[in-house]
Symmetry: C2
Subunit: 224 residues, 2 copies
DNA sequence: GTCTATAGGGGGATAGAC
DNA sequence: GTCTATCCCCCTATAGAC
């Protein structure tokens, strides 16, 4: 058995740990998922987490950072492609698609591939763990700024502050859809299914209408 | 010291425990809030939780059930008042107000009074603890049915399935607004504030437009 | 790099005095 | 009803052999 072969056999212990953590964090919550359960599911030893990530917190950070940067890069790549097209029809829908599709793909295989992380992301903004929340919010901030700039051009009738709120609501609807799939099954008495192919279309038309709504008449220049 | 006086002094140990639990669950998450911290904040003894609620799970259930029924009764009371008015102007906005205002009141004092519970409710649908999720979803189901029936009359152009999805997105935007207040402060670079008096107005106009949007052209009769 | 073994702490629950 | 004291479990982290 050569050194290379030996290494090859163990190259993805780290990845296995990340996969197991992602899955168990998604299912039980970050706090409730123990390192014992994670290392067991990864087929690794309890001490492996501390060796590779230093601590449970280190593992948590790694689980998020592995996916966050690619997610937001994909969003920005799609946004740039739309901008390059000039202001075509249905600009708002296309921008929303660029934002939501990477988390809520309409291709079933993609959806399953990212399901655990998507559920985790949906809860990340309300995560009690401050470090996680801060990390996600920071990564999210850059993307938000870019999307807001494009939406502001497409929706010149919406004052800046109101657009910020509308984008906040947009993020909320997406988060909820991504992390509370089960709920639609229940509250529709089985008439809707979380993993329906039409979910993304329904979501985009709903959100686009909300973003395009006339601006509020009164407020806007109170002290807030 | 009479028996009555003695009782009077201790009548609200139970309530103190519920208040402390609500506050600490909201701040740290259910799993992360320990009975030791809760009883300490309540000025009660560690054993008090087991005496009054049987277990931590019992306490969790009590924290939710104390507020859930009044919340949904208030929503239904407001909904009934709207229906009694006949189909006046801005019906969708008024229905949404009946749904959202009890959790996201525009009166600052009310908001502070229910803030902890609202944050808890916002996370409840994605709560990893199955029992909590089930309990909240069940209580929520009856309210949902009533609101959906009224919305269906106000929005006859929206097919049933699409309306279910739109209500799901509505619940998501509300949940997020209620549990992730901090986020709007950050991603707006300080230009918006979570506890702004205008939040409810912004939310209602956004959601009403989404609910009123034209129905999707294509799907609707696929196998889903 | 990976393992075993264990330290060290905190958790929920309960028995029994008052 | 409320307290103290304690049981027993599971957790994370680490030391040290391999």
């Amino acid at each position: 058995m050569s050194t290379t072969e030996t290494r090859a056999e163990h190259v993805d212990t780290r990845e296995s740990l990340l996969d197991a953590a992602e899955s168990l964090f998604s299912e039980h919550g970050i706090q409730a998922a123990s390192l014992r359960a994670i290392t067991h599911q990864a087929g690794a030893n309890l001490a492996a987490v501390n060796y590779h990530f230093g601590s449970k917190d280190g593992l948590v950070r790694a689980v998020f950072s592995r996916r966050l940067k690619p997610l937001n890069e994909e969003r920005l790549r799609r946004l740039a492609a739309i901008e390059a097209d000039g202001d075509a029809e249905r600009g708002v829908e296309r921008v929303l698609h660029a934002f939501a599709a990477p988390l809520l793909s309409s291709a079933r295989t993609d959806r399953e591939r990212i399901r655990d992380f998507a559920r985790l992301m949906g809860r990340a903004f309300s995560e009690p763990n401050e470090e996680v929340r801060g990390m996600v919010a920071q990564e999210f901030a850059e993307t938000t700024d870019r999307f807001l700039a494009v939406l502001a051009r497409l929706l010149p009738h919406v004052p800046e502050r109101e657009l910020l709120w509308r984008f906040h609501f947009t993020a909320g609807a997406l988060s909820h859809t991504v992390s509370c799939g089960h709920l639609i099954d229940e509250l529709s008495h089985g008439r809707c299914h979380a993993d329906s192919d039409a979910t993304l279309d329904y979501l985009l038309s709903f959100l686009a209408a909300g973003l395009r709504a006339p601006a509020l008449a009164a407020p806007a220049f109170q002290g807030e």
